[in-house]
Symmetry: C2
Subunit: 323 residues, 2 copies
Amino acid sequence: MNLAFCRTVQQQKKGCCKLLTLNKYSVQQWLKSFDAIIYDADGVLWRTDKELEGASATFNALRAMGKRAYICTNNSTKSHLGICKKAQDMGILIEEHEVLTSAQALARFLAEKKFKKKVYIMGEEGIGAELRAVGIEHLPIGKEVMFGPDMYEYAKAMPLDKDVGAIAVGEDRDFSVPKLTKVACYLTDPSVMFLATNRDIAFPVAKGRYVPGAGVLVATVKAITKRAPMTCGKPNPYMCNQLLREGNIKPERTLMVGDTVYTDIQFGYNCGFQTLLVGSGVSTLDDVKKLQSSKQPRAYQQVPDLYVPKLSDLLKFLPSRNG
Amino acid sequence: MNLAFCRTVQQQKKGCCKLLTLNKYSVQQWLKSFDAIIYDADGVLWRTDKELEGASATFNALRAMGKRAYICTNNSTKSHLGICKKAQDMGILIEEHEVLTSAQALARFLAEKKFKKKVYIMGEEGIGAELRAVGIEHLPIGKEVMFGPDMYEYAKAMPLDKDVGAIAVGEDRDFSVPKLTKVACYLTDPSVMFLATNRDIAFPVAKGRYVPGAGVLVATVKAITKRAPMTCGKPNPYMCNQLLREGNIKPERTLMVGDTVYTDIQFGYNCGFQTLLVGSGVSTLDDVKKLQSSKQPRAYQQVPDLYVPKLSDLLKFLPSRNG
């Protein structure tokens, strides 16, 4: 089955061809149809600090076949250097310039705008590190302690820095009402920019257990300010426009591998990439079925071209090193 | 100008008649058209712990004219006994059974449902006190401390009480990501009820300074769970259905005085009361103008019948004690 045929089949089926139902020859023909792969990290390569079974072996085997590789993550808790080190520690063959993060995209966005003011961060150290790397100043990151027992007195007296020109919201374990209050007050000035690293809602950790993502914190800020952020991470194609601009990837010969339909697969669609959903993270085949039967005209943009339960399922289709 | 005339004028003007533009006789005729007044508290009678100028004098003067009086507040940080004491300390002549709060309504709702399980509270002591008063058990209120540095490990290991059957969300100074994580996990069980005391978004404390209300916390829970709460406080007419049921008030002879169009005035509309907006709190005349020119069919429900800058502006229209 060549790519053209594969796409025809997908269109008939409204996408989401199950890769494991194809024969080896078809998969190998499909593999020939791209020369760069962009991987999401959490849910594809690892879950928190644990490598997903066979992920690094598969990543490296595809690389050994000559596929260029990039990691593109919405995780903003670490810098791209920190994400790169984490990947390398798991045995993934990757270099710093091949790791893209949403915090890095946010910092690049401000740098390209020649932003000269300060950033207030409702987020973690990853955002701070990327801002400093492009020479942008930010206020201290971490807990905001409320002084006194009264929110009203606190809000009246809390210091607000007149040089703050942008709010950056990302995942934040130290999210609190005093922090939210500051952000809401800064954003009453319409000239203060409202930026989000990403809008991921929640990440599953076990049956019936989730942790909230940056999207939940963005929802609080939207509720109180009635403002919507510029989201710098996936699904905004801005995440990889440097790769495209510099000619490192060609959209029609690039594959996006992700675990979340509304970020990774939508991102792939927005960029014109082929898309592969892995079932080892946020989105399930059931989610895809709902999208396929949805009458919302944009739902099909989140239907992946192909589906595989986990990344390492690709291994058996790859030529052996000695082969 | 009698009430019928006043209403005709209001309809022509789409409501929001400015009371201070009427002559004394018209206002006194209008005063005769009701025998009970329901006051919102924050923004009408006081702001945080400070009485608004002349509020208690006006409240008491209207009471002395024979108007029955109730305080009906969405504030869930204190019990209704606590709110009553606060009002009394300011010199407001009111008794415990004349104070209604959203936390009390939430507790009554569960008691009427013969709820036998436990409540997890993302809110403050007011909710706990009202639940205990109707014999409903709740988990401890306050900070949730995350153990360990990793949200994922925390979420996996955090204790969840199998007896929790409802989540109550209200204003909460100790709102945090660990708390939100617990609430999100409890609510994955569709049999666990999701209740909110109220949906107030923000309260102004000074120019450009706000504190977030319960509605902002509800927005986070909605974002992560995709569930909408039953809101027990204003604008839900449930807040005063005991008063109505027991015949204490007649809708057509009751006035609702509030400072927030989307809670107080909508509540008045929902209950069939007359409505008076005071300009000393959340909503402004500009907000009303926006509602008047809105094409949303429900916007007019939030347009008050009358407007006055502050409660004590009524004083000059009232008969003097000696008069």
